[in-house]
Symmetry: C2
Subunit: 187 residues, 2 copies
């Protein structure tokens, strides 16, 4: 399973591709697309599309994970962020990739166990979970890797990581747990 996590922004868009193979996680690529504020927003959007399309061609992710927009009160910023997100969503749809969105709290909670964790804490945990020696910089990159990680932990593939946690929540959790782990249940 290969997941591309994206942290879209109107100036800096972080991205990271994580591969999960037999429970082992590895970063295939990560980086940030920095857009020059002097370039027109159309050129910036075109560049984001092209750069991410290249990442998809090179690393063939099966899924794209995106953070849901954090909305300030500024409509102009919301429009700009929306435009970047629209390009990313169009790319995912054009490449027939599954797209999943996660709220920032959900990502932080999946990575650090605390929905209100700081960016530093997310960067620390992402670095540790992925077995990296140093934290990638800037935070846009660790955020993007965190989103991809969240997708691997919370998405369709979460059985591979959190079978017990999954069995503990949800409606038919106990019966699922019994079915999944017959050896752990004393009858």
């Amino acid at each position: 399973m290969v997941v591309l996590g994206i942290d879209p922004g109107s100036l800096n868009t972080g991205y990271g591709v994580i591969q999960e193979s037999s429970g082992v996680l590895s970063v295939l690529v990560c980086g940030v697309i920095r857009l020059h504020p002097r370039r027109s927003h159309a050129e910036r959007i075109g560049e984001i599309y092209r750069e991410l399309a290249k990442v998809i061609t090179d690393f063939q992710p099966e899924r794209i994970a995106l953070e849901t927009a954090f909305l300030s009160r500024n409509v102009q910023s919301a429009l700009k962020l929306g435009q970047v997100r629209g390009a990313v969503i169009a790319l995912a749809m054009n490449q027939h990739l599954t797209l999943h969105e996660y709220a920032p709290r959900e990502v932080k909670s999946a990575i650090t166990g605390r929905g209100a964790a700081s960016k530093e804490q997310v960067a620390f945990m992402v670095t540790r979970m992925l077995g990296l020696t140093v934290a990638p910089k800037p935070f846009d990159v660790t955020d993007a890797l965190g989103i991809a990680l969240c997708d691997l932990l919370r998405g369709e593939s979460r059985n591979a990581y959190l079978p017990v946690q999954k069995a503990r929540c949800g409606k038919s959790s106990w019966s699922q747990f019994v079915a999944a782990s017959p050896d752990k249940v004393v009858r």
Copy 2:
């Protein structure tokens, strides 16, 4: 010169392709992409991209004209509209088409002579200017045709339509006018 005018919306996106050939304007195609509100916003954005890409393949416009976003106070709407616009902008950039944006007032003013004109008035004038027998419906379509018309009237090609008006405005207007129309100047 073939121009594709687009009136992007999160539910209905109007489009219209106008061809200008030796001063004669003709509508090559126009319509509206209606998106089902129950579909996910990602699916809707993918559909807009695909439908408009088909229009571009079929009618080969050289330019895309877009209305600048009318911003309400609602950040959620701004984000949604931004996402649709982002897909359209990414499409224009991917197809290497020139993209021009016009403010709603600018479009209305170019078509009706009044920046605060009603949608009905724009529809009436668009129908008349394009020699159509009936006004295309809904207003999303006439708005999109109006945007394409505005681009033809105001864009790089405006010399073809408004040589005198152009000569009258701008910094070096008089010298331009003299150079362009030597027969009209009494020396």
